[in-house]
Symmetry: C2
């Protein structure tokens, strides 16, 4: 019941041999007598020896840990990405240190510094909106810290990135609304400084341009990516003389908030207003919300794969992996002529 954890020295002393021999026996070196090895292994088991990874890592100057920074992980989205990351990392004996930046630039920076102090061998990050940490990431890149951006990226940085084509899929989502017969499509956008938001807005504009529809600036609002922000937007939209007949939302939470507010106001989806989200969510699925689904697990796996490659020193030039997505059409965006049949 000693609080002392068995070390290699204890084994050596008990057997009257040197620590070097014990180490060799344990690491499976060939330069140790079979007889000796067995003796060591037996004693190690007897003393319930566990190698001290810290000491080994200090010597080899590694930690076998990678860091992950996400804005939050209460919504399904980032947890799924993290699971994908863990899957690949664990397979290669890496542990994953998970941090959440809580959507604040400041905590993001602190997390980075903490991960550096923990001597993680690489970092996978999904930046906060309004990340003011571009210089920090630049420093990391300069210092050759393996780094992969996922989902939310900094467009100006030359680094590995794993994303979907937000612009393209936003286009497809809005195109779907247009083809369904909707003509006054509003957009509840996220934060302009967030690349994903900006790109989805672009896709929205692209679709209008492509199908010759006028863009009404007063139908476009950038309120944020959180569910609660939606009511504000809905209230405004419903106050207009000419109301929109559909809303394309920057993500599912906002779309859900939008649907809830509409319901509260006594409006039916899609009969009065159609709604489309982005990124899929269990709640959205249940509410029959049309949305673009991202391959979350796969994104995590790919990001971890690229990070481990960087760590192993395969110094390929920075690459942006664009994964495929999918538009899932549900009842929240029925074609105008089919709506009454519902």
């Amino acid at each position: 019941m000693s609080l002392h954890k068995t070390t290699i020295k204890d084994i050596a002393k008990e057997l009257g041999i040197s620590v070097a021999t014990v180490s060799r026996a344990l690491t499976g070196s060939h330069e140790v007598q079979e007889e000796t090895r067995e003796m060591v292994l037996r004693k190690a088991k007897e003393l319930n020896y566990r190698p001290n990874i810290q000491a080994r890592n200090l010597l080899k100057n590694r930690t076998n840990i990678i860091g992950v920074i996400v804005p939050e992980f209460v919504s399904f989205f980032f947890p799924e990405i993290i699971i994908g990351i863990q899957e690949v990392a664990n397979r290669e004996d890496y542990q994953v240190l998970i941090c959440q930046s809580n959507e604040t630039s400041d905590l993001e920076r602190k997390n980075i510094e903490m991960l550096e102090s923990s001597r993680v061998e690489g970092i996978i990050v999904s930046v906060t909106k309004e990340s003011k940490n571009e210089p920090v990431f630049e420093r990391l890149l300069n210092e050759q810290m393996p780094l992969v951006f996922i989902n939310r990226v900094l467009p100006d940085l030359i680094a590995d990135k794993v994303i979907i084509d937000d612009r393209k899929w936003a286009f497809k989502a809005v195109e779907h609304l247009i083809k369904c017969g909707y003509r006054r499509i509003a957009h509840l956008g996220g934060n302009e400084k967030l690349a994903v938001s900006a790109n989805r807005l672009q896709g929205y504009l692209d679709a209008h341009r492509h199908y010759g529809l006028d863009v009404h600036p007063n139908l476009i609002m950038n309120l944020g990516v959180q569910q609660e922000r939606a009511s504000l937007g809905v209230n405004y939209l419903l106050s207009l003389k000419v109301k929109p007949d559909a809303v394309f939302c920057v993500n599912d939470p906002v779309a859900v908030g939008c649907m809830l507010e509409l319901k509260k106001r006594g409006l039916k989806v899609p009969e009065d207003i159609a709604v489309v989200g982005f990124s899929e969510s269990p709640i959205g699925r249940i509410m029959e919300l049309t949305s673009v689904s991202q391959p979350t697990y796969e994104m995590g796996r790919v990001a971890a794969g690229k990070l481990l490659e960087q760590i192993k020193g395969n110094c390929k030039p920075a690459e942006t992996v664009v994964l495929d997505a999918k538009l899932n059409i549900r009842n929240s965006s029925l074609p105008v002529h089919k709506r009454t049949q519902k």
Copy 2:
């Protein structure tokens, strides 16, 4: 652009002083001249020095890491607990290594061993259903590994536990149904071997006993804790000659699955059948599901607090902290006489 990370030695060499002085300056020791300290701090910043935590920990024989094992973290519940844990842990400079056992006993054991090898200083765990690892946890306790069970516990083990009184709150939930006028209340239970499930079933039985209601064994089914399992139960319940007028579900996912299946079958909640869940969830809230809310963040904080106490060697006897919960009444369980008004 060197791959070499700045060490205390580099600073010492550049300034022509000893590593001891540098160390003292950095750790805020009083026995160093103010002038020297400033010099060191300036140089440290210039060279972007980050202390190597591994080396420090090796010396002090600690890691400043605690491990957390949860069954899963895609649903809101465990992420919230984890955030609470991180909050307290980070405040005390501890990192959190998060593992998911994926509801399998085997992966749970592997995670434990992995955390041991990583020399975590303590473990917070929510066991899998049918955890066969009681002997493993017993060993950990014997070896004085700080350990706190949270939410899902092993009743026979003497250890720190952070829970709510599942039996009591299940009683309250069912009592609420009874007071609303429901008389044939079914129970979609979880796994019998899972303490939380067993306790919630007991609460269900208690309420029946307390209010003199007969228990109909064929209205009680233990199908599991996942949403998908609910349809099976609903199908069976609806096949009975005398159908239930309410369902008390072991948790929100099952309750949601239950509501969806009822909807699919053309039945209205609560007009045809009332539904009550447990543990709260965003989806449940949106579906207006009556449920018991647990203080997830607080549970995490308390568990982390207790673990850190254990780590610091405050060897109190094992204690079970029972936190308060709350029954949130929503439309899924309207009083029978009010239902038509809806």
